[in-house]
């Protein structure tokens, strides 16, 4: 049975505390566009005061999830609940800000004018000067949108999401297509919102971005959430650290050591992915006094992510 609105109100007054209370939730949500299954039976919650990243490759279902939360799409099955209600209600919408992927924005309005207009939609908007400062747009406030650089355009869209002083913000791929400098600038602005106690859901396919910003990461692939946790938990799931060394020990001996997740060879060096480096190193140094070229690095979220999605894709093709 399809019900878009949940009657159990999980209405949260205090979003400053990092409690586990959900302010927005997808429960058993499936969504398809014709033949394409965008989301399959997804359970996912955004908790008050956190910045949660929905991380996944292109076409994984991230944007669909955001559209469902915003009431721009309705689920084929399951329920969507935002602030205890239906996201299409205007009372819910006045507490939400959204930054969506958009091909064009009216180019003949000034940055200041765009913000003034969007501010008028909300009952208690931020003062214009504060919005401009939060989004780092003071210097370009009188420019027409069409005259802005890529980074300034994204920051203007970001300003439109935050100008109403909403409690909950959805940022769909906020830094896509930006260069490194512009991306880091936007990260700074996003952190300012977190510091103000806002709740944020951010989608990204940049693993570095999720790692740098998020309290919690949900990895999504082929319309399913395949892993969820803090960035370090996600990393730990596929081997938290990487040991690189030149050793005469054979692969089988190393594989039997506690906490070893995987072994690869890079030229003469052995690369060992481990959950924790110290116990493995202690054993290896004892077994092989001649061990040399030792390096220990933390496995990036990127490796964790690739391992997770590769596993998931293998499972999917095996099932076919």
């Amino acid at each position: 049975m399809i019900t878009a609105v949940e009657t159990t109100a999980e209405y949260v007054e205090n979003n400053a505390s990092r409690s586990a209370a959900a302010v927005a939730r997808l429960r058993g949500v499936s969504k398809n566009y014709g033949e394409v299954q965008a989301l399959r039976n997804v359970d996912f919650a955004v908790r008050a005061g956190e910045l949660v990243a929905l991380l996944g490759p292109n076409g994984a279902g991230k944007t669909t999830a955001v559209k469902l939360f915003l009431g721009l799409a309705s689920p084929a099955a399951g329920t969507v609940n935002v602030f205890g209600g239906n996201p299409t209600h205007s009372q819910v919408r006045t507490r939400i800000g959204a930054m969506l992927q958009v091909a064009t924005v009216p180019e003949t309005l000034r940055v200041r004018e765009h913000i003034e207009l969007f501010s008028s939609y909300y009952p208690n908007p931020l003062p214009l000067a504060e919005t401009l400062a939060l989004a780092g747009l003071e210097d370009v406030k009188n420019r027409l949108f069409g005259e802005l650089s890529g980074g300034q355009r994204q920051r203007t869209l970001f300003a439109l999401a935050l100008c109403g002083d909403p409690d909950l913000l959805f940022l769909d791929e906020p830094t896509v297509g930006l260069d490194v400098e512009a991306r880091r600038l936007l990260w700074q602005e996003i952190r300012k919102l977190v510091a103000r106690g806002k709740t944020l859901l951010l989608t990204t396919h940049y693993l570095e971005e999720a790692d740098a910003l998020a309290d919690r990461v949900a990895v999504i692939n082929r319309g399913e959430i395949i892993a969820e946790g803090t960035p370090s938990e996600i990393k730990a799931k596929t081997g938290g650290r990487k040991i690189r060394c030149i050793s005469r020990l054979d692969v089988e001996t190393v594989r039997r050591l506690p906490g070893v997740v995987g072994i690869e060879y890079d030229r003469e060096a052995m690369e060992i992915r481990v959950t924790s480096a110290e116990p493995v190193l202690r054993e290896m140094l004892m077994l092989d006094p001649g061990l040399s070229g030792l390096e220990v690095a933390s496995a990036g979220l990127e490796e964790a992510f690739l391992a997770l999605t590769a596993e998931d894709n293998r499972a999917a093709s095996a099932a076919l």
């Binding site: 609105v5 949940e6 009657t7 159990t8 109100a9 209405y11 559209k67 915003l70 009431g71 721009l72 799409a73 309705s74 602030f83 205890g84 209600g85 239906n86 209600h89 205007s90 009372q91 819910v92 919408r93 006045t94 507490r95 939400i96 959204a98 969506l100 992927q101 958009v102 091909a103 064009t104 924005v105 009216p106 003949t108 309005l109 004018e113 003034e116 207009l117 969007f118 008028s120 939609y121 909300y122 009952p123 208690n124 027409l144 869209l157 439109l160 109403g164």
Partner: protein, 270 residues
């Protein structure tokens, strides 16, 4: 019901913003946006002015059509032509682009009342329509020897501005079905032949007989007859019939626009 209680609760802590302010700002910025967009403001004002200057003021100025001066007759017909352009491009062109390229969705995700968006487009188009007609009237009086009582001039402007509404409705219907890139070309393919067949360029009685028969089906023909009647130039048919046709046409277009809205919601919003 728990949900209802919750939403009422949140409505108390967050009062609803003033709807009049939203409508006002939406219309104001839509007007500014269009005014600065030269592809729109220059062409919708420039083309009628150019045609009227050429055919009504520079050529044929001593001639009469059906007992009226050419400059007076063409004031009504190019006024209709101008109103159609301002309305069709002001609604269909803008909606097709903003809907097709994702901007409408950003607005939809905000707490903006959806009708504010459409009302703004219509109000903007009506202001441009009024500007075109006033400009033509001014040119006609100053350079074309057009003389008419103030009441007649006022009636012409009011008739044409009111008559822009059916074309705004037509524009909304088109805006839901045209792609963002193809919209301007397709609007022209409808606008220009329709103008010709309705006697907006060449006076109705000089059109080939079979086109005259078709013209009766065109809303532009009916609006042009009302405009001609306003300035006392020879018109065909009764005003009541012309208004009835325009109102009916507007309602049909709004119905089509509504279907289009649902259709795209099916694609974009569901």
């Amino acid at each position: 019901m728990a949900t209802a209680a919750t939403t009422i609760n949140s409505a108390e802590t967050h009062p609803v913003p003033n709807a009049a302010t939203i409508y006002w700002k939406e219309a104001k910025y839509e007007f500014l946006r269009s005014l600065r967009l030269r592809a729109y403001s220059f062409s919708v004002i420039g083309f009628p002015v150019m045609f009227y200057t050429l055919f009504g003021l520079l050529m044929n100025r001593q001639d009469t059509i059906g007992g009226s001066h050419v400059a007076t007759y063409l004031l009504a017909s190019y006024g209709t032509f101008g109103v159609m352009g301002a309305s069709l491009f002001g609604t269909a062109g803008a909606l097709a682009a903003e809907r097709g390229l994702g901007w409408l969705q950003v607005k939809r995700a905000s707490p903006m009342p959806p009708s504010a968006y459409f009302v703004a487009k219509i109000v903007k188009s009506m202001i441009f329509s009024a500007a075109v007609v006033l400009l033509l009237l001014l040119l006609g009086v100053a350079f074309g020897g057009v003389t008419m009582p103030v009441a007649e001039g006022t009636k012409l402007v009011l008739t044409l501005v009111a008559g822009s509404l059916p074309f705004c409705a037509m524009g909304l219907a088109l805006g839901y079905f045209l792609g963002p890139n193809s919209a301007p070309g397709i609007i022209n393919m409808i606008y220009l032949p329709l103008s010709f067949c309705s006697g907006l360029w060449i006076p109705f009685m000089f059109l080939p007989h079979f086109i005259q028969k078709i013209a009766v089906l065109s809303p532009a023909y009916h609006l042009a007859q009302l405009a001609l009647d306003a300035v006392g130039a020879g018109s065909h048919g009764s005003s009541a019939t012309h208004w009835d046709v325009l109102i009916g046409f507007a309602l049909v277009c709004l119905g089509i626009a509504r279907i289009g809205e649902r259709h795209t919601e099916g694609k974009t919003y569901s």
